[in-house]
């Protein structure tokens, strides 16, 4: 049934790569690697984000994620999470590319520890540097139109405004800004961060954006696999209303049945 629904939609094309799913998922914070893999498979996502970190030489923690996640099964999108400067983000992106999978990077430069909101000036600087070096940059940013336009000018292959702060699960706090960004950009707009549950994913996709990226909503659910199934369906279900064009909402009732032909 979901395939039937998908047939009414086109693919998601980012930087020349084609995806059937409009859902991109993270791989962090899962209780076990087995649950992570099951949840990602259930989500139907083809693109998954990963982080770059030092190998733990004392081996007290789990090994690298590629021992669990098959890079032939998923398209790996390395992030620069945890970076607070353009310089650090560029360094992490270069390390990620040297792993040899692809030229894509999810650029993330954080400006504030409490809100994890992006440092948009540093993000722009890093986006320019990385695009010049041939990276396909998918930039995490604020829901700010001007920054989104500048990131597109900088050569980003996708611009990724937040729905609300990372890990907050608050849903889309400003649907108007998300719509405005989508209507003004040529490159795909992926809403990244803030989705908490399936209805949030629906509201996000109904704004007409090209995709949605989430991690905590799945990993922090009591049952991540079940939540991943739900998110798969909502990312499809809420894409179609946008394509179908919803009825206008009005604060007055209009009968659905004929008012003529009533009995005396």
């Amino acid at each position: 049934m979901i395939d039937e629904a998908r047939a009414l939609d086109g693919p998601l094309v980012i930087g020349g790569e084609t995806f059937v799913s409009r859902l991109i998922v993270g791989t962090g914070k899962y209780e076990t690697n087995e649950i992570m893999v099951d949840a990602i498979r259930a989500s139907g996502a083809e693109m998954v984000t990963v982080a770059v970190r030092r190998v733990d030489l004392d081996r007290t923690k789990a090994e690298g994620i590629l021992h669990h996640l098959d890079p032939d099964e998923f398209f790996l999108l390395a992030n620069t999470a945890g970076c607070y400067t353009a310089e650090d983000a560029v360094r992490y992106a270069r390390l990620a590319r040297a792993a040899g999978f692809n030229d894509f990077v999810k650029l993330e430069v954080i400006g504030d520890e409490k809100t994890l909101l992006p440092d948009v000036a540093a993000t722009l600087e890093a986006a320019r540097t990385l695009s010049d070096e041939g990276f396909k940059v998918m930039a995490y940013t604020n829901d700010d139109l001007i920054t989104a336009l500048r990131l597109e000018d900088a050569g980003c292959v996708a611009v990724m405004p937040l729905a609300s702060p990372i890990g907050s699960g608050l849903g889309v706090v400003n649907p108007y800004f998300i719509r405005e960004i989508k209507s003004r950009l040529e490159v795909p707009v992926i809403v990244d961060a803030g989705v908490g549950t399936a209805s949030d994913a629906c509201v996000t996709m109904e704004q007409g954006v090209d995709g949605v990226l989430m991690n905590t909503a799945l990993a922090a659910a009591d049952d991540p696999v079940r939540m991943s199934h739900a998110m798969k369906h909502s990312s499809v279900a809420a894409r179609l209303p946008y394509l179908a064009g919803r009825m206008p909402s009005r604060e007055i009732a209009v009968p659905s049945s004929p008012t003529k032909g009533m009995l005396d």
Binding site: V50, R54, V55, I65, R94, L95, A96
Partner: protein
């Protein structure tokens, strides 16, 4: 048995004593790491994997061995 000569390097943020004359590849092997699973930065320069068997680690080098972990 003769004592191996050792050198001191910064490895993932910690000072470590390692055998002198090791190539990057033999260092990875000694740490039980597969070359294809890690990326090596030597003194802030990323090393091409092809060079692991030929680049030798020297006294005072700073090495970062990184890999992919779960993240959002």
């Amino acid at each position: 048995m003769t004592q191996h000569e050792t050198i001191r390097v910064q490895l993932n943020g910690k000072e470590r004593e390692i055998e002198a004359g090791l190539t990057v590849r033999s260092l990875l092997e000694s740490l039980d790491l597969k070359p294809g699973m890690v990326v090596v930065e030597l003194n802030r320069e990323i090393l091409e994997r092809d060079s692991y068997p030929t680049v030798t680690v020297s006294e005072g080098d700073t090495l970062e061995l990184v890999h992919f972990v779960g993240g959002g």
